[in-house]
């Protein structure tokens, strides 16, 4: 029987090539027209340990990862032991004959006959693809695209192994195969992960400068930028530390280059003084904080939504800001653009809060619309006459005319001290008061433009699930599951978590019989924020803080546990 969807997990040691075959398999599936969703789980080491690359694939859009495994590709014995409990009914394992365990369904592959030790991963790929019914040519092309441009001998050996494995797979009894139902009208789509989408979003928003100090899971954003820096005419500077990174970005932005940063919690902590500087000097800057479990070094390669409050209040003193939290690959692209737009318009720090799960999660998406490339940037803002130029002129909107140093006869002066309209240091306390108010007035504009939370499901549900950021898909799927069980469930999902505009959602909250907030942290930071901002308390929470992404099943089970008053 052909399946509508499958959950495939590849497991093995770091350095054992599981990401390579995972990528090739996923790419092949996407090219065949399937939807996919990749979840990567890896340890903080380069070789050894236990890593997994999970691909959920199907004809319909895949929203979230899943626990139960239909096809386990085990590159070592440990993988079998670690994941055998997760096998679904009918699930099977592609594994070396030596490692099969009695009570599971194994496709016992004689790897040593098919390939040299170094190519076991490719052999496993070949067997799997043959069982899945993917054409060998499709997979071979994806393989070449992935590793091809480098060394031809390696490519050839890989193709050989792939062929052998296909042949071996073809020889197995048809009962072993687990074919996917074909997609009727396959569309051309991108296979792209969250971090790549952010990089693309940044390019399309006109990013010109990025400074960074490597930090998982943010580094790959920067690596994508670097890969195309020369071509796109941007500079990406590896800084001596994160403090340097943010100050460089501020300097570049002050001089006129749209700038961004990408880091994770600990690196961001070092940037907080700079956040305050960007706010005081009213310098646009986009900061991506890719969350991972803390405190301190925590679990560097896992996921969490634990830095919302930290980012929201980062930097000493008071100033407006905006915080976006993408919930899909598409939003990674769109909200990055939006972040640049807002930071240029309101001249200050704007944040993108993502996490390891979303960063590393590949999905199939339609191509992004880049026809319409908005050219924000300082030049639009400046309508300055010949009179003395006041960089920090007091205005109704709080937004002051911004010129760039060196481009006109006007002098541009910015100061981290409190300053007068012309940017020079002052200790005049009534000017101080006006400047505080001017800066804060920009917050009103930001509030007017806030992206409303997404409401789905019927009005006045028995259960309203509130969520934010990367758990979006999981919540959607969980809601479907619960609806399937007869519960009336709606969703209120936030992709912009600051500022909050109560009028957009207060009623929705009040109308629900019961509200549960889903978050990837241990203290319910977003529920507390809602409590603070609109006085609506959400004591019921589904929280996860073990380093793994929130899944639909996890939400479903937790909601059952909490108990709902639903019918």
């Amino acid at each position: 029987m052909e399946k509508e969807s499958l959950n495939i997990l590849i497991g093995g040691e770091a350095g054992g090539g599981l990401v390579t075959i995972g990528q090739i398999l996923a790419k092949s599936l996407v090219r065949k027209g399937y939807s996919i969703l990749v979840t990567q789980d890896y340890q903080s080491r380069i070789r050894g340990g236990h890593n997994t690359f999970g691909i959920r694939v199907g004809i319909e859009k895949i929203l979230a990862p899943k626990e139960s495994i239909d096809l386990l590709i085990a590159l070592n014995e440990e993988t079998v032991w670690l994941h055998k409990e997760e096998l679904s009914h009918g699930g099977r394992v592609i594994v070396d004959g030596a490692y099969c365990i009695g009570d599971i369904v194994c496709v016992e592959v004689p790897f040593s006959q098919l390939a040299d030790k170094r190519y076991v991963n490719t052999a496993a790929l070949g067997v799997a693809c043959s069982l899945l019914g993917l054409d060998e040519i499709l997979v071979a092309t994806a393989l070449k695209d992935y590793i091809g441009k480098k060394i031809t001998e390696v490519v050839e050996t890989n193709l050989d192994v792939l062929s052998k494995a296909y042949r071996w797979g073809g020889d197995q009894s048809p009962s072993v195969s687990i074919k996917l139902k074909p997609v009727s009208k396959p569309e051309k789509r991108l296979m792209i992960n969250g971090n790549e989408a952010i990089a693309l979003g940044a390019f399309s928003a006109g990013v010109k400068f990025c400074a960074f100090y490597p930090m998982t899971p943010a580094t790959s954003i920067v690596m994508y930028l670097i890969a195309h820096a020369k071509g796109m005419g941007i500079v990406v500077e590896q800084a001596e530390d994160e403090i340097a990174a943010i100050n460089m970005a501020i300097g570049a932005s002050f001089a006129g280059a749209s700038s961004m940063l990408a880091t994770s919690g600990g690196g961001f902590a070092l940037m907080t003084e700079g956040v305050s500087l960007a706010a005081m000097t009213e310098t646009p800057i986009v900061i991506v904080v890719a969350q991972r479990p803390g405190p301190a070094t925590g679990l560097p390669t896992r996921t969490e939504q634990g830095d919302l409050e930290f980012v929201l209040h980062s930097g000493h003193g008071e100033f407006p800001r905006a915080v976006f939290a993408p919930g899909s690959i598409e939003e990674c692209f769109d909200l990055t653009r939006r972040a640049f737009e807002l930071s240029e318009r309101y001249q200050g720090p704007v944040f993108l809060l993502t996490d390891q799960y979303l960063a590393d999660s590949y999905r199939a998406v339609d191509t992004f619309d880049i026809k319409n490339l908005p050219q924000f940037g300082p030049s639009d803002v400046a309508k300055v006459s010949d009179t003395p130029y006041n960089r920090y002129q007091i205005t109704e909107s709080g937004i002051s005319p911004r010129l760039l140093p060196g481009l006109t006869q006007h002098l541009v002066v910015a100061d981290s001290d409190e300053h007068t309209g012309d940017g020079h240091i002052t200790e005049n306390l009534s000017v101080r008061k006006q400047m505080v108010e001017k800066r804060l007035r920009k917050g009103r504009g930001i509030l007017e433009e806030v992206i409303p939370p997404e409401r789905s499901g019927e009005a006045r549900p028995d259960l309203l699930i509130v969520s934010w950021g990367s758990s979006r898909g999981a919540v959607q799927e969980a809601a479907s599951m619960l609806r399937g069980e007869g519960l009336s469930v709606s969703i209120l999902h936030f992709s912009q978590v600051w500022p909050l505009q109560p009028s957009q959602f207060l009623n929705t909250l009040h109308e629900a019989r019961e509200v549960v907030c889903v978050e990837g942290n241990a203290t319910g930071q977003f529920s507390r924020l809602i409590g603070r901002e609109i006085g609506f308390q959400i004591p019921k929470r589904v929280l996860r803080y073990d380093g793994l992404p929130i899944t639909p099943e996890y939400i479903r089970l937790q909601i059952k546990k909490i108990g709902t008053r639903g019918k």
Binding site: F203, G206, K208, A211, E240, I243, S253, G406, S416
Partner: protein, 283 residues
């Protein structure tokens, strides 16, 4: 013609007798002698008495955080290499809080001029030892005398083969303004460590103390010899050489960056076709 008037004349918040006044004057003279228009220059400074200096002349200015002026300047220069970027701050800013950025700036050899007002003290915070304070130097914060060895910026920069290493003295403004001119005209990172009395908090390294010791390098001194420079760089105590101590012509950073060959970043627009191709790469 750029004249002193173009750079204006302002009231300062410095103590009478402070060495900062003379440095400000020397900077202005250097700018005039280089015939640089105020609007073409960007000053970047940190926080401290020294860091206030660029508020007292006409130019573009980014007065940022304590210790962080070098990275701001680096970012600005990379964004727009047409700007002449001068960094001005104290010894605390550059050798204390900002020490890591100094190391990186030297290694990058980006075309910036760094003027360090080195009064061997934290002035603005009322007189704690700075990285350059002498061993045994007594302050309220170091009642038993400074126990860390002083940081010798000239020696470290020379050891790192910085491309321009000079030492000036606020009491010799002629030489100082000349050194500053040279530093600005140098392509690459140029450090000018400027000895300066702080009349309020440094009662050891006074004007007279410096005056007695600071001696210009002889005319025939060759700053391109690393070996000689490494010797001169360690002279201190009774005889403090001032002048251009070491110089080489490593290429400057911004000249080497491929992406900058197409002109300043700030003038670019997004290349839609290329972006489209990049996107195609994800099929």
């Amino acid at each position: 013609m750029v004249t002193m008037d173009d750079y204006g004349q302002y009231d300062t918040a410095w103590c009478p007798g402070c060495g900062n006044h003379a440095i400000l004057e020397a900077v202005k003279r250097a700018l005039v002698s280089s015939q640089l228009k105020p609007s073409k220059i960007l000053f970047v400074s940190g926080i401290g008495q020294a860091a206030k200096a660029p508020h007292y002349l006409n130019a573009n200015l980014f007065n940022g955080l304590h210790g962080r002026s070098l990275p701001v300047a680096t970012g600005a220069k990379l964004a727009n290499p047409d700007l002449v970027v001068v960094v001005e701050s104290g010894d605390g800013c550059n050798y204390g809080e900002g020490g890591n950025h100094l190391l990186a700036a030297i290694r990058r050899n980006i075309d910036l001029t760094l003027l360090v007002h080195n009064n061997q003290i934290y002035g603005l915070t009322k007189g704690q030892a700075s990285p350059t304070s002498g061993e045994g130097f007594v302050t309220k914060a170091q009642p038993d005398g400074m126990m860390l060895s002083p940081f010798n910026p000239v020696a470290v920069a020379t050891a790192m083969k910085a491309s321009f290493v000079a030492r000036g003295f606020s009491g010799n403004t002629d030489q100082l303004s000349d050194l500053i001119s040279q530093a600005i005209n140098h392509r690459g990172f140029a450090l000018v460590d400027i000895l300066q009395p702080c009349v309020s908090f440094n009662k050891v390294n006074t004007y007279a103390w410096y005056k007695e010791r600071c001696k210009p390098l002889p005319q025939e001194y060759d700053p391109t010899s690393h070996e000689t420079a490494l010797k001169v760089a360690f002279e201190w105590e009774d005889h403090i050489p001032i002048g251009l101590i070491y110089k080489n012509d490593r290429p400057s950073y911004e000249e080497r960056i491929p992406a900058l060959r197409g002109g300043p970043l700030i003038q670019r627009t997004v290349d839609r076709k290329r972006l489209h191709n990049i996107m195609e790469g994800y099929f």
